[in-house]
């Protein structure tokens, strides 16, 4: 029994290549001789986790350090998990097949709330105590990634948390760890030492006191080494920060099997629903020269057929047309496809469209997010219907005939008119197609309208808002179904039960740690997968824990309430968020901060293009 049973297990499951490592550009160092060993864990299956950019960066960066190694770990799919439990195979790393509990630092990336149960399941499979207070050896469990800005629902499981960009702080933590291990200090000593680093949050150094109505009364620091308000870390200069010149090339197919070229961090738009738009501030771009250099090396070292520009809003890159032109000069002769996701309706270039078309013509996706100008002003999505219709007209004239439109349902201050506005907008897209004279002849028009359920997130102007009740969401979805009459339009909607749970954990507090533990005990895992998500079990767990999930998801908070994440500093001032929420109420938009500072507070972070 144990890791030697791996061959047998792999003979008996689907897609064994997910579990073997040894891919092109993967790095297996000498485990015994390396002072600091990091297990980078992605709490979802290989196919998903291998598509994640942050892991690619930190993996190669840490392996570049002489005294450090980094190996990858993913959540085993259910068939593999079953075999691992049957044959007592501990959770192991792909590179050297070392049991995860033998690593020094076990890091989980928190990309979405619905992966939290997978973290507990992976810790259990690894044989690592789930609760931080039960760990006694030299192994530490840490979290990072976008959800870590409010990781209170995971507070009991974390030894420490990395807030913000990991490129610098991870190396500092690694150095401290090596010193500490050599010295042979206590676990507390190590945590106290790293708590002094900017970007490190040690949940156990803070006590949360609740009011009788279950809201937070106070968050009190209990260790003077910890910051009053731990602040996220940013990378100030994107041209000099580490970026890998090679990537691990998976054997099996993964979700995004291509080169992700990160062109900038942050976003200047200030859409009020968008957490990423606030937590990744300020905007910091890489130069065209740097990007070309990185693109050339990555193409050479990966053999990939596609390169994709990644950012929150690619066409906002200040020299976007020059970048696209010069990258196409590199990619076209090599028959490499250039993918440009995250384009906006308002600054889409016709020329650029024609150039991408040369390589491949896929469908176009736009995200107006809301169906009426009124609601788009409320959420500060500064896109007009006219801009969308102009853009699709250009697209149709150039031969496109597949358009996807993304919207949200349940936005604050939304009315049924706004919902019907979605159908209206889609219908106008069809009209534009019918009137368009130069459209392609062969294919008919296909417009896909997709709606997701709005989840209010921390550190946004809507962090105080209530999520719509499920019944309301269903009512709105039904109204939209009935309003969409034209046969060219297909409507897809998301089940709002998952969004409800997401809303609970997004704005949850430490009392939810117990809920996660119970849900884990009852077998919840892969909750973002339809085939595993079991709403009834979750409701049973809330019931058993005496916790009302609606308290977190569908309750409107007052500005005065102490929010569970109020002791975390992402650089955006609460005053700014309140003023943005008030402007939303009045339907007043806020300009793009490239046009002039809007005073969000991110200048305190001391980097980026706004200072």
């Amino acid at each position: 029994m144990g890791i030697e049973m791996l061959n047998k297990a792999l003979n008996e499951i689907q897609k064994p290549a997910r579990y073997i490592g040894g891919e092109i550009n993967s790095i297996a160092k000498d485990f015994a001789k390396t002072p600091c060993r990091v297990a980078f864990c992605f709490p979802d299956v290989y196919d998903i986790g291998m598509s994640h950019l942050g892991m690619k960066i930190l993996y190669h960066m840490l392996n570049n350090e002489n005294d450090c190694l980094c190996e990858r770990v993913f959540a085993p799919w259910s068939d593999m998990e079953e075999k691992m439990r049957e044959y007592d195979i501990p959770l192991y790393s792909l590179e050297t097949k070392t049991p995860v509990k033998e690593f020094d630092l076990i890091g989980f990336t928190l990309q979405y709330e619905m992966s939290y149960t997978n973290i507990l399941n992976m810790l259990e499979l690894a044989g690592v105590p789930l609760l931080a207070k039960d760990r006694t050896d030299t192994t530490f469990v840490c979290f990072g990634g976008p959800c870590s800005y409010n990781c209170e629902p995971l507070a009991d499981f974390a030894d420490f948390v990395m807030l913000g960009a990991g490129e610098e702080v991870f190396v500092e933590v690694k150095d401290k760890y090596i010193e500490w291990k050599k010295r042979g200090g206590s676990r507390l000593e190590f945590l106290e030492e790293i708590a002094r680093l900017e970007g490190i949050y040690v949940p156990s150094f803070y006590d949360v006191i609740y009011n009788e109505d279950n809201t937070v009364k106070e968050i009190k620091r209990n260790n003077e080494n910890a910051a009053e308000k731990p602040r996220k870390r940013i990378i100030k200069d994107m041209d000099s920060v580490y970026f890998p010149d090679r990537l691990v090339i998976p054997f099996s197919e993964i979700v995004h099997d291509r080169i992700p070229l990160e062109i900038f961090r942050g976003c200047t738009r200030g859409c009020r629903f968008c957490q990423a738009g606030f937590i990744y501030r300020p905007v910091r771009e890489k130069s065209v020269e740097k990007l070309k250099e990185q693109a050339i090396k990555l193409i050479e070292n990966t053999g990939y057929e596609e390169i994709s520009l990644t950012s929150l809003s690619s066409s906002d890159y200040s020299e976007f047309n020059r970048l696209a032109d010069e990258l196409l000069e590199i990619t076209e002769p090599k028959m490499v496809n250039l993918a440009l996701p995250s384009l906006r309706v308002d600054n889409f270039s016709v020329d650029l469209m024609k150039r991408i078309q040369k390589v491949r013509k896929s469908g176009l996706t736009f995200a107006p997010e809301a169906g009426t100008q009124r609601l788009r002003d409320i959420i500060n999505k500064n896109v007009t219907e006219e801009q969308l219709l102009n853009t699709v007209n250009i697209a149709f004239s150039n031969g496109w005939s597949t358009i996807k439109l993304y919207y949200m349902i349940g936005l604050p201050l939304e009315t049924m008119d706004d919902v019907r506005g979605i159908a209206d907008m889609a219908s106008k897209v069809v009209d534009v197609y019918n009137k368009c004279e130069h459209k392609g002849k062969n294919k008919g028009l296909k417009v896909t309208v997709s709606t997701s359920t709005f989840v209010p997130k921390p550190f946004t102007p809507f962090q105080w808002d209530a999520q719509d009740f499920e019944e309301t969401v269903i009512e709105k979805q039904n109204e939209l179904k009935q309003t969409i009459k034209r046969k060219q339009i297909t409507y897809n909607w998301h089940e709002s039960k998952v969004s409800f749970l997401e809303a609970v954990f997004a704005r949850g507090d430490r009392r939810l740690c117990n809920v996660l533990l119970k849900a884990h005990e009852k077998g919840c895992r892969f909750d973002s997968w339809d085939e595993f998500f079991d709403y009834d079990v979750w409701m049973q767990v809330f019931d058993e824990c005496g916790i009302d999930p609606h308290f977190y998801a569908t309750r409107k908070r007052e500005f005065e309430e102490v929010l569970p994440w109020s002791h975390i500093d992402v650089g955006i001032s609460e005053k700014y968020l309140i003023s943005e929420r008030n402007k939303a109420e009045q339907g007043i938009t806020t300009r793009d901060c490239r046009e002039g500072c809007t005073g969000c507070g991110a200048t305190v972070l001391g980097g980026g293009d706004c200072v």
Binding site: N11, Y19, F251, G303
Partner: protein, 222 residues
Amino acid sequence: MYKLRLSFSKTGYAKFVSHLDLMRMFQRVFRIAGIEMAFSQGFNPHPIMSIGNPVPTGVVGMEEYMDFSLKDENMSVTEIKDRLNAVLPVDFKILNVWEPVESMNLINKAHYKVTIKVKKELPNLGEYIQALKVKDDIVVAKKTKRSISNVDIKPWIYKLDLTDADGYNFEFDMVLSVGGNFNLKVNSVFDAFVKYVPDFDLEEYTITRLGLFKDNMTKIDS
């Protein structure tokens, strides 16, 4: 266009890489190695490469073949081999690169070393194997996409020797039919054991395909 053939090995955990994944990997390896493959004509051009008798997922391959075409002839076979080996993951190795003479279709035999472990002790497995070898037919169920049919695999087993045994662990030397006539998998031989050997209960196995051969047990292009 430069038509070439290579032989390679696929060992260790890489045996779990499927045929399609392996083909995709080779395309990328060629690109990284800076060796320009020739592309097919047509609407959706793809690099010209083919593996005549793909080794099944989970089976180690010690000497497998792949045919491929390059855009031009400006690189020596030694250089091609060295460049590919410099890029390939550790569990893959290019053994040789050469200009093909014979058709890959001539391959019809595969040589295997198979080790198994059984749950219940089988002191007389050797005798049962002997009995199997003199039987008129060995009928096992063969699953296709649509149905299950009974097939006599006896004519397609060219060699089935028990080379090592200790009651629980056994090692076999097998030569089985491969390719167009009949593709006999080692797992079908296990099915025959299950059917004809009392108490045969497979715990674990490893299969190594040692090589591929023409009818007279010589290697292709030799």
